[in-house]
Structure formats: structure tokens, C-alpha cells
Assembly symmetry: C2
Homo-oligomer: 277 residues x 2
């Protein structure tokens, strides 16, 4: 029977879940079922959740782990009574921070925050639409407005990465697919002409040809496009060009979209227009 962990918040639950998952990921041997419970912002919801937690404790035969970031004093008091092992992030760290900063936190006076901000909202909308308008080499004339231009072979992860950069950090990321159209007569990939004047903005993606073939296979099964030969050849050409032109690049095979994006930012010093929550 696995243990259960509850990530509880009166907001989105993103912070409680993010921290909770990071902490529990350190216990690989223990099977833990993780449940996020956001928007627990009334006494009624808190009482219902306590009932769920206690039923879980009975079923599991072990008390659940409770990781919460509830701000409201009364709601917190209800959850605190639940039968569980509590990791109380805010109250653990806010007291010492209050002393260090010489002031009271709004937490200690029970005020909640909304993470929606006008400027962030507008930056996000613009960045997302910029990424979409400049996806897959669609509108090359906006490259002068791009913060970064991702290049790579078809289905190596350019689109999810450019959208993540837009949503999480407000970065305007264009992307351009490297295809056989950009090859020399002898089969060598050249830097496409439309990118030549933006070389300092280029960032390459590469991928294990086997994974590429698997991804392409789902799109066009048993095609030349998804064949191992074709994938190997395209990836080799792309990597050779990155090296020859000194274009920084990252292998997306081993990394999540979060890792690819944050590594790019760390490597290029890209300016984040805003920060996530």
C-alpha cells in the first residue's frame, strides 16, 4: 500500500506541489501517491478535505504527508487538525525571515496574494502569439524582434521550447526548421540565408536520432521522414553546422522542456521579461 501525500493551498497549489514533489523525489524507494488540492479557501472546503485525508489515513494504514502553503489563519487551523505528518513551509521559514527583514509578513496577518499582474499578462499574450506567428519559419520578417531563434530538424522540440520560454518568462522565441532545402549540392547543410544576419540570436537543438525517429513515426508512420537513415543524416548535418558556425546547442533527448529552457537562459544570459508566479 503506498503512502499518500497531499499538497494543499488556498491558491493554485503550484508552490506546494513543486516543493512537495522535489522533496519526495528524494525518496525513490518509497511509493508515494501525490494529490494536489488547490483553492482550499473556505472552512467548508477545509473540513471536506480533512475528511478525505482521514479516510486516506485509514485506507493506507499510515498517516498521509501534508505539505501546505495556506495563508488564511482559520483555514490553516482546520487543516492542522487533520491526522497527518505536516510539512509547514510558510510558518517554518517566515518567522526567521520576519526577524531578518525586521518586519511582519502579510502571511502572519493572513493576507492572500493573487499572482495575476497586468504587465505579466500582456507580456505573456504577446510572447505566446509571437512564438506562434514565428513558429516553423512561418514569418521570417519578425526575426529582428526575436529575443532568440531556435533552430533544429523537424520535431526535435523547437515548438514546445519556444512556447515554454514565452509562457514562463515572456521571452520572444522564434523557431526555424532545418530541412533538406538548406543543403548544398554535396548534401552539406548551410546556414539558411534568412538566419545569416541573426547569427548572435541562434540557438541549436539536437536530439538522439532514435528518439527522433520514434516521434516522427507517430506523425508519419513508415515514411522516409521517420526512417532511421533520414533522422541520422539530418541530425548529423545539423550538429556539423552548429559546430562549424559556433552556434551553441543543446541535446533535447536527456532534458525536459524546463531544463532546456533554463539552460538556454543560463548559457545566453537571455533577459526574462517576467518570472513565473
Amino acid at each position: 500500500m503506498p503512502r499518500t501525500a497531499f499538497f494543499i493551498s488556498d491558491g493554485t497549489g503550484i508552490t506546494a506541489e513543486s516543493l512537495g514533489r522535489s522533496l519526495l523525489a528524494q525518496f525513490e524507494d518509497v511509493e508515494i501517491r501525490m494529490l494536489t488540492k488547490p483553492y482550499i479557501d473556505t472552512l467548508d472546503k477545509a473540513h471536506s478535505l480533512v475528511a478525505v485525508i482521514e479516510a486516506t489515513a485509514v485506507r493506507d494504514g499510515e498517516r498521509p504527508i501534508i505539505i501546505d502553503t495556506i495563508v488564511d489563519e482559520e483555514v490553516r487551523a482546520v487543516i492542522r487538525e487533520a491526522l497527518g505528518f505536516k510539512v509547514d513551509i510558510f510558518s517554518t521559514f517566515l518567522k526567521p525571515l520576519e526577524e531578518e527583514l525586521g518586519t511582519h509578513s502579510s502571511y502572519s496577518v493572513g493576507r492572500t496574494h493573487s499572482i495575476g499582474r497586468d504587465d505579466v499578462y500582456m507580456d505573456r499574450i504577446h510572447s505566446v502569439h509571437f512564438a506562434l506567428d514565428n513558429d516553423d519559419g512561418a514569418r521570417t520578417h519578425q526575426y529582428d524582434k526575436a529575443d532568440i531563434i531556435l533552430i533544429g530538424v523537424s520535431r526535435c522540440g523547437k515548438t514546445p521550447t519556444s512556447l515554454y520560454l514565452a509562457l514562463q518568462f515572456g521571452i520572444r522565441a522564434a523557431n526555424y526548421p532545418l530541412t533538406e532545402d538548406d543543403q548544398d549540392e554535396d548534401g552539406t547543410l548551410k546556414l539558411p540565408r534568412v538566419l545569416a544576419s541573426h547569427r548572435h540570436k541562434l540557438f541549436g537543438l539536437t536530439i538522439d536520432p532514435r528518439r527522433l525517429a520514434a516521434i516522427r513515426h507517430e506523425r508519419r508512420p513508415n515514411s522516409r521522414y521517420s526512417s532511421m537513415d533520414q533522422c541520422m543524416q539530418e541530425v548529423q548535418q545539423a550538429e556539423a553546422m552548429y559546430r562549424q558556425m559556433h552556434i551553441p546547442f543543446i541535446d533535447t533527448t536527456r532534458f525536459s522542456v524546463e531544463e532546456i529552457s533554463t539552460r538556454m537562459i543560463a548559457e545566453t544570459g537571455l533577459h526574462r521579461r517576467f518570472s513565473p508566479h
Copy 2:
């Protein structure tokens, strides 16, 4: 002179930053400059960062706040020596969790984790491409494969929300724009026929007409499309239809994309295909 906070990690820094921002957001009166330092995964990088932290302490005239999730023991030891006020998330909570779970954490043996997982990667790629293929009513025939279909007037936030649902949770979100084409002769908005058989999947978005006008104005200045009259009329019609057809809806004006998405999931019980980091 503002205080400075460093969010330090040997990974993406997402957890340290997310928690750090949540904690520091509770101190609205204090001006705090926040810097995220991801991928501090060698002794060299750690020593360089310590130099930066100490220079910052001198400049600010106050010791910086250091919030870290470094796993590597030696790297951690270097950062621990820096002049700063430390919020050590992992070591604070892992010890009690080890006792509760009756086992050692990989943290205490210095093992790092990568957040990239094959199944998550594939789910993400598919969900993102699903959102793009089904953006703005483009390919209505995939609605049977959608987990949710967002509806709303043009530029009310459908696209960023559907992409966020795809990237963060692997949810397949289509979206469909409500336009004048879907109005009756008397100007009443009807539920578009292509959506009629998917009513249980519909989720409406609405927005303050003033914000809508501002967003549209940046796209097509001084047009009928961006006029207050037009925006008010479209929003009123959309909301009337949501109410009449009992379609759940959310006002995107006051909320971030994170909040809109997590509220939708909480309200509909949508199944998350994976969880962020």
C-alpha cells in the same frame, strides 16, 4: 538600497525560485531584488557565485537572502560559507521526512535527479501539437480527442491557456473563437453547431471589455474589432450564452494563466496526464 535574494540550485532552479518568490511575496513593504542562479553544479561555479554574493552584500550594505535546493554535498558546503541569510529548504524538511518514512533520502547521499522523463516528453509534444492544430477553431474534426474545449471571443486568453494546459499537465485543449458568424439574425449568440455534440467538454472564458479593447487595440489599432462598443457587445453575448447553456466559465481578467488553468482543472476534475517537474 534594496535587499538581494539569490535562488540557487544545481538544477533548473524552478523549485527554489518558486518557493523563494512565494515566501518573499509575503513581505510587500520590503524591496527585494531576486536573482535565480540555476545549474550551480561544480565547485568552480559555486566559488564564483560566492564571490558575487559577497560583492552584493558589500554593495547592498546588507547580507543577501540565500534560498537553495542544492543536492551535491560539496557544492552545498561552498555556498553555505557565503555571507548571507540562509533558507535551507531541503535540509530543513528532509531530516524529519526521513524519520517519518523510515528511510534515507537520496539527498542525504548526494544524488541528483533529472526531471526529464520519456513518457512526459512524448505526452508534452503531443499535447502541444494538439493545442496548435486545434487552435482558433482550425481543425474541428479533432474535438472528439480533446480533453477540454475552450471557447470565448477573440483574444480573451484561449490560446495561452490551452498551451499552458498542454505544457504543464499534458491536457489536450482545443479552442474555438466565438464570432459574429455564430449570431442569430437578432444578434443573439448561438452555440456553434460543431460544438453542440461536445457540450460536456466546453469551458468558457470571459474578460473585462476594457482589457479586451486594450489587447485588441495593440493588434488592430482604431478598428471596429478593438472598439469598446464591439468588445462590450461580444462579451455580453458570450456570457449570456454561457449562462443560458450552463457552460462553466471563468473571467480571465483577474487571473493569471496558472490560476485560470488550475481553477479549470479543480472545477472540471480534468485528468492531468503528468505533473510539472
